[in-house]
């Protein structure tokens, strides 16, 4: 059955319309979880507010389990679902640069649009920076194409790389997440903050 557009159950235009609807859900959940506030987002790095960690990992696990169960029930063909390709050098270097951008700017791209949608001027300026950063990458593409394209590994699953089945890896991820949630709850009582 799924993915609907790949199996031509819906048309390309319906797919784009549903993208808009799914986007509304995405933005609504991000904003109501507090992701429109850079001070809440940055809190995870100082322990006073760990909402990012909780929402992020709960979402990743819910999505992962949902896909595994949908596949088990025959509702989705996972071989037709896009798995992000792995280029190790650029994945690490890109992640490091993004992490630096995160702690300096207090937002990531998705959350900055949420912040801007409720009137955060700092989020709007961050978005301006995003466009500039993407443009710099685009204009100087020849300079970093080497590292960008280096170390292509195809699209391996982390479970395969570790020699585990998807289910066992999923279970391990849940256990790790639960442990992190424990630490997060503890951190919030250890480094509490007033209203911000």
């Amino acid at each position: 059955m799924g993915p609907l557009v790949v199996n031509e159950i819906i048309t390309e235009n319906t797919n784009l319309f549903l993208a808009f609807i799914i986007g509304i859900g995405f933005g609504f959940v991000l904003e109501s979880s507090g992701f429109s506030s850079s001070r809440k987002l940055a809190g995870v790095f100082y322990g006073y507010d760990t909402v990012v960690l909780k929402v992020f990992f709960t979402a990743a696990i819910t999505g992962m389990l949902g896909l595994l169960f949908f596949s088990l029930f025959g509702w989705i063909d996972l071989s037709l679902v896009y798995v992000n390709p792995t280029f190790l050098p650029s994945a690490i270097l890109g992640g490091v640069i993004m992490g630096l951008g995160f702690i300096m700017g207090g937002y990531c791209p998705g959350t900055s649009f949420c912040g801007a949608s409720i009137g955060k001027i700092d989020a709007l300026v961050f978005i301006g920076g995003l466009f500039l950063g993407v443009l710099i990458f685009g204009l100087g593409y020849d300079i970093w194409e080497g590292i960008y394209m280096a170390g292509s590994m195809g699209d391996p699953k982390v479970s395969e790389s570790l020699g585990l089945s998807d289910g066992v890896f999923g279970l391990l991820l849940i256990v790790v997440a639960l442990a992190m949630f424990r630490v997060a709850e503890w951190a919030e009582t250890k480094w509490p903050r007033e209203e911000y």
Partner: protein, 177 residues
């Protein structure tokens, strides 16, 4: 006072409930489109469109535009992530309106000025924008969506983003605490 504290605590969604809902949105995206959520991809679409519009001849040989054209047919603005990001703006606005959070302001720690906050927001945005291209997606597209489909790259990028932010938290602490 306790009541006020209670109110403050409950004005946002419980994070675990929010996480499950976000996971369901992510599942819906995969079920409908065979791909996860994203954000930086929409910015890339816009930048590519702008580059083509401003300097059509110069972009003819651009590796960046060429690579984008290879992976996306048709108009760069008629892509899944552009429509999804338009939805994000609407969804964020609706949630903010319902919760009474619509307000024009520069949000910053009382210890720093608005000016300092905006300079760092701009610099952080530039870095995040650049990094999202090098890393083939941001926190949404690469880390979150990648993790749900168990992509090795997704996990690596996620650890690099959060690990680096943690590592530099001390350096930039004045901005936040």
């Amino acid at each position: 006072m306790t009541k006020l504290k209670e109110l403050k605590k409950t004005k946002y969604l419980n994070p675990y409930v929010g996480g499950v809902l976000l996971g369901l949105v992510l599942l819906a995206a995969n079920f409908v489109a065979g791909r996860g959520l994203g954000a930086s991809g929409a910015i890339k679409s816009t930048v590519v469109t702008g580059m083509i519009a401003v300097a059509p001849a110069a972009t003819e040989n651009s590796g960046f535009v060429g690579e984008f054209r290879d992976s996306h047919g048709g108009s760069p603005m008629k892509t899944w992530l552009v429509f999804q990001m338009l939805g994000v703006i609407v969804g964020g606005f609706i949630s903010g309106a319902l919760a009474g959070r619509l307000k024009l302001k520069v949000e910053h720690s009382p210890g720093i000025t608005s000016r300092r906050r905006l300079i760092f927001a701009l610099a952080g945005g530039v870095l995040f924008g650049f990094g999202s291209q090098l890393g083939r997606g941001c926190t949404s597209g690469s880390a979150l969506s990648g993790m749900a489909v168990l992509s090795l790259g997704g996990f690596v990028t996620m650890m690099a983003i959060f690990g680096t932010a943690f590592a530099f938290a001390y350096v930039f602490r004045k901005n936040w605490i």
